[in-house]
Amino acid sequence: MSLLERLGAGHLDDRTFARLWVDGVEHPHLSSCPACRQRYTAYAEWIDDIGSEGRAHADRMFPPERLAAQQAQIFRRLEALDRPTRVIPFPRASRVVIGHQSPMRRWMVAAAAGLIAGVGLAQVVDHSFFERRESAQLSHFTASEANQRASAIHPVSFKDGDEEFLDATEALGPRVKELRALDEFTPHMRDIDTRK
């Protein structure tokens, strides 16, 4: 029966068959038309065949041996789940790794702390000492000579400037007690009259 004949006679098409099959309902036409009933039965068989072929195809992909292997693998994984986690040791380091509680570490920390404290203390003590001495000198110079220098301004001479600097340095004298004896043997700039 051609499509035109079917349409003319009010027969059902494939689309309607698909709808009927999916919804699982019966069309009134099917009970009155043997041709459509036959076609619908064939249609339903065709769908069932696809299903059974699909099932058979998938089953062939998983033969019993494969399923047995799969099952064994599942149980291996389940056993691994119940076992406590195994910690894989990390490869030994090429350098020495010092633990938190090792005495060597404690010594190293103490040495580092001592070094830092020493450097810091030296900085603070040294600076304060120099600052005190220099401020004393400065106050001495400013008090006695500032007025003279202010009244008589000499032309700038590098030579005079150098000598004054050396005088000032000598006036400070040696800071270290042990060097004072040596200092007394040494001729000073103040003893040499360079202008003569």
Partner: protein, 229 residues
């Protein structure tokens, strides 16, 4: 109640009993016994799970892994399983989610990979994995019948593979696995009416892809076998 639904009800009852037994064994810390009982569930659902996974991922090795993952996940999360829901529905949902994750991951990988040469990889034929039994000659079939059957399987597998993901999933679950629309809805998380729409579209598409003659050959063969036996 038909024979199939009675069998299904019996299976579900057995599943519920086993699942609650495994749960209580796990709670008592008797893991070896729990695993032993869980083996019953694995044996009951393994084949069906493999079929579903295969139709989803369309690769036997990947389906194998997806099934393993699903059983391991089900075992480790069995405490969250509620007995009022059938175990097979709960488990199949885990399996389908795993398969969908694998499909997503594969798509991401494929985006960065250079496509394979047209010759394809070993074991595949035009995107559809080759049947493992194809190489072994069947004892009851003539070479011609075997060739026709192989060709028919190939055509159906290709047609199913051509379907969009959801249509294929719905068709496989309802037609290959025999689930009702309500069960497919519970398994896929789709609305029941959406399931019917996908099923309708899948059938329409398969009808255009597979000429009815392909399956007529199958019916003729079945008829021939019935006559000879």
């Amino acid at each position: 109640m038909s024979g199939t639904s009675a069998a299904l009800a019996a299976t579900r009852e057995a599943d519920a009993t086993t699942a609650s037994a495994v749960k209580s064994l796990q709670a008592d810390g008797r893991h070896a016994d729990a695993r032993e009982r869980f083996a019953e569930l694995v044996a009951r659902h393994q084949r069906r799970a493999s079929r579903i996974a295969y139709h989803y991922v369309r690769d036997a090795a990947e389906a194998d892994e997806a099934v393993q993952d699903a059983f391991v996940k089900a075992y480790s999360h069995l405490a969250t399983f509620r007995e009022e829901l059938p175990f097979d529905v709960w488990f199949t949902r885990i399996l389908i989610n795993g398969c969908l994750d694998r499909i997503k991951a594969r798509k991401r990988r494929e985006r960065w990979q250079v496509p394979m040469a047209a010759t394809g990889s070993a074991g595949f034929d035009g995107g559809v994995e080759r049947d493992m039994t194809e190489r072994v000659p069947s004892s009851g079939q003539s070479p011609e019948d075997a060739l026709l059957a192989r060709e028919r399987r190939r055509q159906i597998a290709e047609a199913l593979a051509t379907l969009p993901e959801r249509q294929r999933a719905v068709f496989v679950l309802s037609q290959v696995e025999g689930c009702t629309s309500r069960e497919v809805s519970a398994l896929t998380g789709l609305n029941e009416s959406t399931v019917r729409v996908h099923l309708f579209r899948a059938i329409r598409k398969l009808r255009t892809l597979l000429a009815p003659s392909t399956l007529a050959v199958a019916r003729d063969e079945k008829g021939k076998r019935r006559v000879t036996s």
